[in-house]
């Protein structure tokens, strides 16, 4: 397996992670690194283990074998809420908003671990600049938003924790093409402002276009890795995921 690990020490590092749902093994020795200012894409088909990888990093489930470190600190068995406090935040698959809370309260929930009121207000403003639609919908219940607005809110909510690492699970799923453009542009903006991003996508082309590096997952195994450009050009990837 060719690895193109970043020269600098990795912010997040998964080493040989095995994960199970009951008796079913979902991840087989997955090793992934994310560097200080990277966008890293995790691509693969349905059921390949992309979401499981993110759930394992977030501590919603724990690896049976292998280790996960974040900023040099071991977080393999750390509980989910403590991982958030360490600075890893996820916008989960299916958005998972709080449907009976207003948009603004969903954003406030994103800042649950923080106490600095001024910083929270500042980040709220930043989210509204990124997604002006959310400002218009501020007092609406999240469950009544359109799909695109919900996706914006999910990303915005994740940003409200001021994460050191942002993980996005299928941010373009079910969105109109024009919104997909907006979302990917926003992802690059967030990254340019200094937040590393681990991006899970079925839309492999778009993901690899914005990613510095990428990993290809297949039935719980990392089968290929390289820079975004390398993977886009790889015949295997093209055949399997890009429909070429």
């Amino acid at each position: 397996m060719a690895t193109t690990a970043p020269a600098t020490s990795a912010l997040l590092e998964l080493r040989g992670v095995d994960a199970f749902y009951g008796r079913v093994q979902a991840l087989h020795g997955v090793s992934v690194t994310v560097g200080q200012s990277e966008i890293v894409a995790l691509i693969g088909s349905n059921g390949a283990g992309k979401t499981t990888t993110l759930r394992t990093i977030s501590g919603l489930m724990h690896p049976a074998n292998g280790s996960i470190t974040f900023g040099g600190q071991e977080i393999t068995k750390t509980r989910a809420h403590e991982i958030v406090a360490l600075g890893i935040c996820q916008s989960p698959e299916g958005r998972r908003l709080f449907p009976r809370m207003q948009v603004i309260d969903n954003l406030r929930m994103g800042a649950f671990t923080r106490k600095d009121k001024a910083g929270i207000a500042q980040d709220m403003e930043r989210v509204f600049v990124l997604f002006p639609r959310l400002r218009e919908r501020m007092t609406q219940l999240a469950g009544t938003l359109s799909g695109g607005e919900q996706q914006m809110l999910a990303i915005g909510r994740a940003l409200m924790s001021r994460p050191k690492l942002l993980m996005l699970d299928e941010p373009s799923l079910g969105l109109a093409p024009i919104l997909v453009d907006t979302i990917f542009k926003t992802i690059q903006e967030i990254n340019a402002a200094g937040t590393p991003i681990l991006l899970v996508e079925q839309n492999a082309v778009r993901a690899l276009e914005v990613a510095h590096r990428g990993y290809v997952l297949e039935t719980g195994n990392i089968v290929q890795t390289g820079t975004g450009k390398e993977l886009l050009a790889s015949p295997d990837v093209q055949r399997a995921y890009l429909g070429m």
Binding site: S58, G59, L60, R79, A80, H81, V84, A85, C89, Q90, P92, G94, R96, L97, F98, P99, R100, M101, D105, R108, M109, G110, F112, T113, L141, G143, T144, R157, A158, S161
Partner: protein, 350 residues
């Protein structure tokens, strides 16, 4: 009200528009009207003073049911489990406070002053804490280890816990009703010909304070926000940095605090307690929670009040031997005709 809520409502009205559905609806209305007619004749027969008297009792009973119902509905809201042991926590509150009252220097027929009020407050606080510790332990022992198990498993341990607690209280105080010290002063006022005693006033005021306090707590506090978030989406709540184990334990804690207060006030009002008190009171309170829309705390408060009215009016004007039957009948009717309760959730979940 999103598209999904609209679709559900349309589907439900489709189901009900069939001939059987309509016949059922008509049957329900006929039943309610017949009952109201019967009640009306009895009310006229007994005169207005009696009606007002029953109404005041009903408000006090309803307040106690509301306090218990809140615990059912909060726990259901957060982990979708009916904590069948909850009624027994209420009964434990009555038993524990019966023992604490003499311990804190209160006795029957004493003179009341500011210090006695403090003593009674101390009984309240200690009892509520004991109930809270009990309920949190129940969650820890019987529900938390089964959090990822099929839903039937914690339901069975809940019933087991209920039997266990009833058994423990049976061993503690025996099979028959025990006397609960009658410590409240025997003062009363006459309002429009009906008697309102210190007992009723104590129940009303305490309940209002607790329910308003609960509403503020859930709406404003950090833990309250964590509880709302956990109730709406447990995984998402964890991803916001919420410690859901602590949040769930806090929900059991608060539910038990309210039930404990209810237990004390039941004892103070009726001056009797029995080991399986939690079963009958729990049944009414559970029905109240379902009536109001399980998971909805305002629904539980209103449901408790309504069920208190129904039960007290039934006991006052009809045969109290049948009141459990009436409560069960209401439970079944709510589940058939309005499974989401009168204030059930109507916003789409996802």
């Amino acid at each position: 009200m999103g598209a999904v809520g609209e679709a559900i409502r349309r589907r439900r009205s489709d189901l009900r528009s069939g001939l059987t559905g309509r016949a059922l609806d008509v049957g329900l209305y006929v039943l309610i009207l017949a009952f109201l007619f019967l009640l009306g004749t009895r009310v006229i027969e007994h005169g207005p003073d009696y009606l007002l008297q029953i109404f005041f009792f009903a408000l006090a009973n309803g307040a106690i049911y509301a306090l218990i119902a809140l615990g059912y509905t909060m726990v259901y809201g957060i982990i979708e489990l009916i904590n069948f042991a909850h009624g027994d926590v209420f009964a434990f509150g009555a038993f524990a406070s019966a023992s604490l009252i003499p311990l804190f220097g209160l006795s029957e027929g004493q003179v009341w002053g500011p210090f006695t009020i403090l003593q009674l407050l101390a009984v309240f606080v200690v009892t509520m804490l004991l109930c809270a510790v009990l309920n949190v332990s129940i969650e820890r022992i019987a529900y938390r280890p089964l959090r990822h198990a099929p839903r039937l498993a914690p339901l069975i341990t809940a019933i087991g816990m209920s039997f266990f607690l009833e058994g423990a209280m049976f061993l503690w105080k025996g099979p028959s009703s025990v006397h609960y010290p009658d410590v409240l002063p025997d003062l009363s006022f006459t309002i429009l010909g009906a008697r309102v005693g210190v007992k009723e006033i104590t129940v009303w005021i305490t309940t209002i304070v607790l329910v308003v306090g609960l509403a503020l707590f859930i709406d404003r506090s950090r833990l309250g926000k964590a509880m709302r978030a956990t109730a709406q989406d447990r995984d998402a709540a964890q991803l916001m940095g919420i410690d859901i184990d602590r949040t769930i334990a806090a929900t059991f804690f608060i539910g038990a605090v309210l039930a404990g207060a209810g237990g004390i006030m039941y004892g103070l009002s009726y001056n009797t307690a029995v080991f399986d008190l939690g079963f009958s009171a729990g049944l009414v309170a559970f029905t109240a929670a379902v009536f109001g829309g399980i998971g909805n705390i305002y629904g539980a408060a209103i449901g408790g009040l309504v069920l208190g009215l129904i039960r007290t009016f039934w006991d006052g004007y009809f045969d109290s031997a049948w009141s459990d039957v009436v409560i069960f009948a209401i439970l079944i009717m709510v589940l058939v005709f309005r499974p989401t309760g009168i204030l059930g959730m109507r916003v789409p979940e996802k």
